[in-house]
């Protein structure tokens, strides 16, 4: 269905249209915020907040991007703000150097590639991490990422390239092995 038609139905108070909008986009939103948060409770909180805001701000949607992209931009904003707040509260921000050291120990001491990669991804700068997860893990295009994050496509490509380079360095011994 055309985004504008669906939006006009929602704005007219059509409850089935609200549900339709939710059903259409919830999977993508939830997957994205879960990738960012890694926690079911947080992912549900962020998904809920995303749709609350989306329904509340539908009148601000100008149709410059697809509705799904607009909703995902809200989701990323909500998730990153929530994660930053949580990070401040926990005051356990991992220093990049420390994380890099943790990500490149002796291979025999930490044989699980997934665990090491996860720690290396956690240690990426926020912008790199978001682009990497959106592109290489969730399959977004650079154009979608650019519109979602409000950055140029070239910026998205550059950040992905740097993210991959950092991950390769962090896991170099695996690549050689």
């Amino acid at each position: 269905m055309d985004d504008r038609h669906l939006i006009s139905r929602v704005q007219a108070g059509d409850a089935s249209a609200e549900r339709e909008l939710y059903d259409t986009h919830v999977e993508r939103v939830y997957r994205l915020v879960y990738r960012l948060a890694g926690d079911a409770d947080q992912a549900q909180d962020y998904t809920q907040e995303t749709f609350i805001r989306a329904f509340g701000r539908l009148g601000e949607f100008r149709g410059e991007a697809a509705l799904g992209t607009w909703i995902c931009s809200i989701a990323v904003s909500v998730a990153l703000n929530g994660l930053r707040r949580g990070k401040r509260l926990r005051t356990r921000e991992v220093a990049l150097d420390e994380a890099a050291a943790a990500a490149t120990p002796d291979r025999a001491a930490e044989p699980d590639l997934r665990d090491r990669l996860a720690r290396a991804i956690d240690a990426l700068p926020e912008g790199y991490r978001v682009v990497f997860l959106m592109h290489d893990v969730e399959g977004y295009t650079h154009e979608e990422i650019g519109r979602t994050l409000g950055v140029q496509t070239g910026t998205s490509k550059a950040q992905l390239s740097r993210a991959r380079a950092k991950l390769r360095r962090a896991l170099a011994d695996f690549a050689r092995g």
Partner: protein, 237 residues
């Protein structure tokens, strides 16, 4: 993955990356219920707040609903008392639990309009109460299934229980189907209202099993007129 000029990751790394924070199945219905309830509440809770904080943020509104329904019901009971003077009561003993005193009869009140007016008031109060109870129990069941502990559930259940008892003591309960539903609902609400922190695990299971066994949510949804949910979402009350 289009438009990528950079060399992609090795397949082994790419596969490992896809296991990073791999999302479980989306809890669609539970999320939808949460969104509906949150939208019906006052805005103000910030994103990232823990669920308990958001429940605390919306619970006052739930209580306000309850108080609004109770007030509406008391008004209906008052009108009902007025109409007692002009027509036979619907029940043998319509004495309300509500402490609100009945307003004195007014000569200007058109007696002929009273039956339709109080019936409408009771119908509206019952419909709003059932809609609110359905929303609460849906959220409660979803929270239990997900392992959350909604600390404020007993307080909300007590508020709903008070309204439920008002309705049971009102002419609205003259309808046998509604009376049976309210009686069954009372048992469920009383169980939640009395949840003891130290025995929650087994008690929660008994309550949710009872909900399933009695088909309470299905019965509530069937009893709530279409549009009542939308009215809640828009904060009509």
């Amino acid at each position: 993955m289009t438009g990528d000029d950079d060399e992609p990751l090795d397949p082994e790394l790419r596969d490992a990356a896809r296991a990073y924070h791999e999302p479980p199945e989306v809890p669609r219905e539970a999320l939808w219920t949460r969104i509906q309830l949150r939208r019906s509440a006052e805005p103000g809770a910030a994103p990232g707040d823990p669920p308990a904080a958001r429940l605390a943020a919306r619970s006052p509104r739930l209580l306000v609903w309850g108080a609004g329904i109770a007030a509406l019901l008391a008004l209906g009971v008052g009108i009902g008392r007025l109409s007692v003077h002009v027509r036979p009561p619907l029940r043998a003993d319509p004495t309300p639990v509500a402490a609100a005193p009945a307003p004195p009869p007014q000569a200007s009140s058109p007696a002929a309009a009273a039956p339709g007016r109080d019936a409408a008031a009771y119908r509206l109060a019952a419909a709003e109460h059932l809609g609110q109870a359905e929303a609460f129990l849906t959220l409660f069941r979803a929270s239990v299934r997900e392992g959350h502990r909604e600390r404020l559930a007993p307080a909300t259940a007590r508020q709903l229980l008070a309204t439920n008892r008002l309705l049971l003591d009102s002419p609205a309960a003259a309808d046998p189907r509604l009376r049976f539903l309210l009686q069954d609902l009372e048992l469920v609400l009383a169980e939640i209202a009395q949840l003891a922190p130290e025995r929650r695990g087994e008690d929660l299971k008994l309550i949710t099993d009872g909900l399933e066994r009695d088909g309470m949510l299905v019965r509530l949804r069937a009893a709530v007129p279409a549009g009542t949910g939308a009215a809640f979402r828009k904060g009509v009350l």
